[in-house]
């Protein structure tokens, strides 16, 4: 039934917004689409421990939706959003995702942040055939028809950074420190394989701390004893504040001791304090200080909407991509139907991305560049290195599992 409608739409010339295609043609599965509006869901933690991280994503998604609406909406329809609170609690995420899909019939969900929340929501979006745009850099080992991963998966984020620091600093020995859950563990597994098999270096220590842990003295002593060329960290959340302060108090000068983190964005530095982390290297795909025309428009627009003091981290930018990629995909598919969007996603490119340019891969992850920045006293990163080409996403990396 829906298939017959598609060619008819694609044959239509690009019409003005007033003559939007008929709802019955672009929405054959009963989503919340009217002649003037389409509803999407925003599902992040507005309360609880993760709120501090996820607020940026909520803000970025609302900004993107407002901009899309100002530019005429999607297929002539304004985007309306329903915001739900995951409350930093994974089952709540699952419940709210189900509510958005079953009750509200949203056309897409922009949401989740931690891997745990995504793992909780994934069975729900697969069962009820929803579309989730997930913004966080994450551990990979996952791929779904119903999810577009707008952040980097682990190999994209890590390998280029390790190559760079090995070449630039001649690093041979690495010390890994992470928070104890799936993302740091998987990231470090990939990093270890790369250090040992490709860079022919050595991992001299690998330590994990419970989420929220604030005592890093023993590992700092081990670092002093083993004197690694590089400290490689994926400590998340509030623990970072304690970690970098204790590192500084122990006399480890990040100007002399290279430290590469894959978990500290501008948002975290806000809490850590620029003076405690200046000199550290971060490896991800976006920094607020990026110098390109897209970003120069994006940063002021974000600050205008959410205040001068807000900072924009990697995930916030990735969250901003979600509504835009969805809009572009809907327009490419000529339909809001989830099956058609899932099928049309590969190849969709967004030239207005603040990070420069992104394109959706066959595996529903994004092609994106990897960048290394050095933390400055003012809490911003200075871009040191970026890959020449887009890095291919590889959620199931051969030889790294």
């Amino acid at each position: 039934m829906g298939m017959a409608a598609v060619p008819a739409i694609t044959m239509l010339p690009r019409v003005s917004f007033a003559q939007a295609p008929a709802t019955s043609a672009v929405n054959t599965t009963g989503l919340a689409v009217t002649d003037t509006e389409v509803t999407v869901g925003i599902l992040h933690s507005a309360t609880g421990t993760m709120a501090i991280s996820e607020t940026g994503s909520i803000e970025a998604e609302k900004l993107a939706i407002e901009q899309i609406n100002a530019a005429g909406g999607v297929l002539g329809r304004k985007i309306k959003f329903i915001q739900e609170d995951g409350a930093s609690d994974w089952p709540t995420f699952a419940e709210k995702a189900k509510k958005l899909l079953v009750n509200d019939k949203v056309a897409a969900i922009m949401g989740c942040w931690t891997s745990a929340s995504r793992k909780a929501v994934l069975p729900v979006v697969e069962q009820y055939n929803g579309m989730l745009y997930y913004p966080t850099f994450y551990e990979g080992l996952e791929q779904s028809k119903n999810v577009i991963y707008t952040g980097q998966e682990a190999t994209q984020q890590i390998l280029a950074g390790l190559n760079w620091i090995a070449k630039e600093k001649g690093a041979k020995t690495f010390f890994f420190i992470g928070s104890d859950y799936i993302w740091p563990r998987t990231s470090n597994k990939i990093a270890r394989k790369h250090v040992e098999n490709v860079l022919k270096g050595k991992v001299v220590g690998e330590e994990y701390y419970a989420l929220g842990s604030t005592q890093f003295n023993s590992v700092i002593n081990k670092i002093k004893l083993t004197k690694p060329d590089v400290i490689f960290t994926d400590v998340v959340g509030g623990s970072n504040v304690a970690f970098y302060k204790q590192l500084k108090a122990a006399g480890i000068d990040l100007a002399k001791q290279p430290l590469l983190t894959i978990s500290v964005t501008e948002d975290e530095i806000d809490g850590i304090g620029g003076e405690n982390i200046a000199g550290a290297y971060a490896c991800m795909k976006y920094f607020q200080s990026l110098d390109n025309p897209n970003n120069k428009a994006f940063v002021p627009a974000f600050k205008k909407m959410w205040g001068e003091k807000t900072v924009i981290g990697d995930v916030t930018q990735a969250a901003y991509l979600g509504p835009w990629l969805w809009k572009l995909t809907v327009e490419k598919a000529g339909s809001f139907d989830v099956d058609k969007i899932a099928a049309a996603s590969p190849g969709v490119e967004f030239k207005g991305a603040p990070e420069g340019y992104v394109r959706i891969h066959e595996n529903h992850h994004l092609w994106s560049k990897t960048r290394v920045g050095r933390a400055k006293l003012d809490g911003q990163f200075e871009l040191i290195y970026e890959t020449a080409d887009l890095v291919e996403p590889d959620p199931f990396p051969k030889g790294y599992q």
Partner: protein
């Protein structure tokens, strides 16, 4: 409906009929499956509240660690469901197919020994009852035999909840860590995810809940129940009368643990999910709050407390995603300040007298009097 008049007095009978009507008839007819499934989730906490009525309301033992037992029951069920969902063809993308996905992520290459028996449903059902029961027996024996009670006991149960959470999060290769066990699919080949399955699971759960209510009411009416109340009021007198206070306490605590575990197992089935966020200190305290809001000495009150508090949680968070926690907090403070006996206290103070008056006037007309309205256990 024929109910032994000695089993329920009149106010309890009203409570029973109202609850049965709401859960068996009104809610299934008026709610869509999504909302009904949410009610099923709220009802899993009603099992815990029921246990707390026995152990805290009657026995006077405040346990701030019921999440432990809820979690143990839930994890036992989830382990069975997870094993079934991790068949070789479902997990062929992994390095080691046929084991749960989180084990694969944590470089575990074979199923650990303690997971093996969870291939069997019979074992799982026994484990859901016995593991938390035995665990409660050990804690209870260790504490009550040494006459540790009151606040100290509450603190220790908190510590146990914290320890179990840390254990589950830390041993993520064996337990799924902070992510919990997600993507539970089938029970003996029967898909638990579609709508019709949710409806069946809901009714199974309600039947189980009424079975547990029956057990709790039975315990309350026997001599055992009255010893529990006596213990709560005057522990020393009971001890001097020759009863082993510790054994009665251990029994009440174990029963509460088993009820909580049944709730946990139903949670895993209904929600398709189990995670350490139900085990820790905060959910354990929340469970006590449900009971307090409903009224800790009333079986039906506590169940209503669990349902209504969770309903408020859902609806407040849907309407005010940024502010709902404050609203919920205000609700708790209001309830505790204004009606310390909870909802059941309100009922007993304001609603029940009117019903009684209504009945009394009708009976007066019919020409006979009734003098056994007083609440409490009937005479033996």
């Amino acid at each position: 409906m024929i109910i032994n008049s000695r089993f329920f007095n009149r106010s309890e009978l009203t409570g029973f009929i109202v609850l049965a009507a709401v859960l068996f008839v009104i809610l299934p007819l008026s709610l869509d499956v999504f909302r009904l499934n949410l009610v099923a989730k709220y009802l899993t906490y009603a099992f815990v509240a029921l246990g707390l009525v026995l152990c805290w309301g009657y026995g006077g033992i405040l346990s701030l660690g019921q999440g432990v037992f809820f979690g143990l029951g839930g994890y036992c069920m989830a382990m069975f469901l997870k094993l079934e969902a991790s068949s070789v063809e479902n997990t062929k993308i992994q390095s080691t197919p046929g084991i749960p996905d989180f084990m694969d992520w944590n470089q575990i290459t074979s199923l650990p020994l303690f997971w093996q028996p969870f291939h069997s449903l019979t074992f799982t059902i026994l484990a859901i009852i016995l593991v938390p029961g035995l665990f409660a027996l050990i804690i209870g024996t260790a504490m009550f035999k040494r006459r540790v009670g009151g606040t100290y006991f509450a603190i220790i149960t908190q510590a146990v909840a914290a320890i179990l959470t840390i254990l589950i999060v830390g041993q993520q290769g064996y337990t799924g860590g902070i992510n919990g066990m997600t993507d539970l699919r089938t029970l003996k080949g029967w898909d638990i995810r579609p709508d019709h399955a949710k409806v069946i699971l809901y009714f199974v759960e309600v039947v189980l809940l009424f079975a547990c209510i029956g057990i709790a009411q039975f315990i309350r009416l026997t001599k055992l129940g009255r010893i529990l109340v006596a213990m709560r009021e005057q522990e020393d007198r009971v001890r001097f009368s020759g009863y082993s206070v510790a054994n009665f306490k251990i029994f009440a605590f174990c029963m509460a643990a088993i009820f909580a575990a049944i709730g946990g197992a139903m949670f895993a089935l209904n929600v398709g999910f189990m995670s350490p966020s139900f085990v820790g200190i905060v959910p354990s305290i929340e469970m006590v709050i449900y009971t307090a809001v409903g009224g800790r000495t009333s079986i039906f009150g506590a169940i209503w407390g669990a349902i209504l508090v969770n309903f408020a949680k859902t609806s407040l968070s849907e309407s005010f995603p940024q502010l709902w926690l404050f609203g919920l907090g205000a609700l708790f403070i209001a309830v505790v300040l204004a009606f310390p006996n909870g909802l059941s206290g309100l009922w007993a103070d304001y609603v029940q007298p009117r019903i009684d008056r209504l009945f009394a006037s009708r009976k007066a007309k019919a020409g006979w009097t009734d003098n056994s309205v007083a609440d409490g256990a009937p005479a033996e």
